[in-house]
Point group: C2
Chain length 366, copies 2
């Protein structure tokens, strides 16, 4: 009898099912790739911090939450301006239920987390409007590849997530530079997706770099250097290093498509071992189109954890059903891994109860 999982297929169901059966009952390692970029501070771009300068603290705080069950570099947990909590809450609950090991890798940070993390030699990112957003892209990618090669020997498969405020804007930047039509298609952590703001920032960045739509289709390093963010070379390197040996679930929303474009330009062969894992909120989002972007790049399946917070006691979780936050810190992929690793013993209901519990404890709601 085939196990049933609370997982949806947003793209290429047969390949997605194959991927899932390959990882079923196997042992994952979760890696959270964190970085910061000044792009996240452009007014109206990100919901990942109450004030722009808070975005420097969101990635380290998310990483601390995953490893410690609480944040150290900020009081409480990261919240949106409306008080909606970080999706790291979902990730930590999922990883806890399936006892999945976690490592944190830094692509470049302004504020360092107070936990162990893999340093990949990167620097924090600059505003993409400068056209010169990321340092040392080939070197960070090479180091991340080395780490991916070693970590591939320690797990049956990797699940890699990210935390970087402003990441969908930099994703639009890299996709545009590489000739992928993503305008109006990247997701947002806010209910009103500020597509125009993102598009303007990308146009300004490409112009500052002396580039235009598609002019860097064959130069992924330069695309990231000009209008990307420091999470990208770290994430792409980890995938390239590991996926030659084991399956890799790229855990995230539309940001994953920019990383996918980078990998596809550098090492397309590894993509047969890769899937994207996201949430139902991204897969069903009417303000973005993850499948439409991926289709232009490579035939990679998209799985989505069928999470549902409509029955929550907490407004902060119910808000996810209104399209706020949606995804991040590998929430969807971690949920998929928790279900797959336990052969379906972890269900969406069990995840929901654990997330409600974590929310109550961390937000002091009971």
């Amino acid at each position: 009898m085939k196990t049933s999982f609370d997982i949806l297929y947003a793209k290429n169901k047969p390949k997605g099912e194959d991927f899932l059966s390959e990882i079923e009952a196997k042992k994952p390692l979760f890696i959270c790739t964190i970085a910061t970029t000044e792009t996240g501070k452009i007014a109206g771009i990100s919901a990942a911090g109450k004030h722009p300068e808070f975005t420097d603290y969101t990635p380290p705080a998310d990483a601390e939450l995953l490893l410690l069950g609480r944040c150290k570099c900020i009081p409480g947990v990261p919240v949106t301006p409306d008080g909606i909590p970080t999706p790291a809450l979902i990730t930590m609950s999922a990883l806890h239920l399936a006892d999945v090991p976690v490592l944190v890798a830094s692509g470049g940070l302004k504020v360092k987390p107070q936990i162990p993390f893999l340093d990949l030699g990167g620097n924090p990112g600059r505003d993409i409007r400068s056209g010169n957003a990321v340092d040392n892209v080939p070197e960070v990618l090479a180091r991340a590849k080395l780490a991916g090669e070693q970590l591939a020997k320690t797990a049956d498969y990797l699940v890699i997530g990210e935390s970087i405020p402003g990441g969908t804007t930099t994703a639009l930047g890299v996709l545009s530079a590489m000739g992928v039509n993503a305008e109006g298609k990247v997701s947002s952590s806010m209910p009103e997706n500020p597509h125009n703001l993102k598009h303007s920032a990308v146009i300004e960045g490409l112009a500052a770099a002396g580039e235009q739509f598609g002019s860097l289709a064959k130069n992924a390093f330069r695309a990231v250097s000009c209008v990307g963010d420091p999470m990208m070379p770290a994430f792409a390197g980890l995938v390239i290093g590991a996926a030659t040996e084991i399956p890799v679930l790229m855990a995230g929303g539309t940001q994953m498509t920019a990383v996918l474009a980078v990998i596809n330009a550098l090492n397309p062969d590894v993509l047969c071992n890769v899937a994207i894992g996201t949430t139902r909120w991204v897969a069903r989002d009417v303000t973005s189109d993850i499948s439409g972007i991926v289709s232009q790049i490579a035939d990679v399946p998209i799985l989505a954890a069928d999470l549902d917070f409509s029955g929550s006691r907490f407004d902060g979780l119910k808000a996810y059903e209104r399209g706020i936050v949606k995804e991040g810190v590998g929430a969807g992929g971690a949920s998929i891994a928790a279900m797959a690793a336990t052969g379906g013993a972890v269900t969406k209901d069990m995840l929901f109860r654990e997330i409600e519990h974590s929310y109550a404890v961390l937000m002091g709601a009971e």
Copy 2:
């Protein structure tokens, strides 16, 4: 039929055999813990660099050698003043033969390696004669413990090595502060063991800290802070975090005894899951006494890889038989792990041939 391994037992053979059978044919993860201390620059203390300032480069160069098969931060490989190559050559050969994954963890470095490494929040160490040698000892140990807990979920057992020039002097410091009689018993990378120099540095450091022999027997944090080095809290934390769940082989010479004293003071319960793995050159060394130190601390077995370089074509390797270098970068423990992981398929002869080959390639000897 019991497998035969090229492994000697330097202390507590029955427990050592039990440990070996527990790790036989299991999957290890090797962690190289690196750090630097100004103590390594005291004239005549260490052979780990031709000039005192070279000791800042030895640990990152060793780490690069393990991950890349070559060094990036220096030309060639680390050598003693007489041109004898780093024991990382042994470690990389052993790990290669058994395809053992490697991670690098930093306790605090002056020069960072150009490879991925786990940042544990530490700073480079000061000269122990200041009596104020290491910053943030409890915090680094806590972060390393977190890393150890996570990594314990990714491997059947851990093998942890170190690279820190000056490490036997700081070991004597911590052992003395904690009331373990190690004077004249710590090893040296040089054929003439400078016991008096080490002793004087320790006496000066204890006096500067307002401490004396044994006054910190119950205060491991302060012992390391005053007269230890930044490798110690990183190493001890990794062991404490992992050994509650899986076996840990502490790979090194007499430096391991100081780490053992720290662990024994903080979490003695984990020591039932711990063994020391070293080389025949340390186990048989007449200028030091690893068993004599360990006996004063805890009943932990000592295994020794039966390496023999007497038949080498190269003077740089033959020198090991004259007591030069002897151990470091987990060379002995990595050799034991390579033999155990392959169920004895990797032998001392095979290791020797691989090491000769690595030497020839890296030293440009053929």
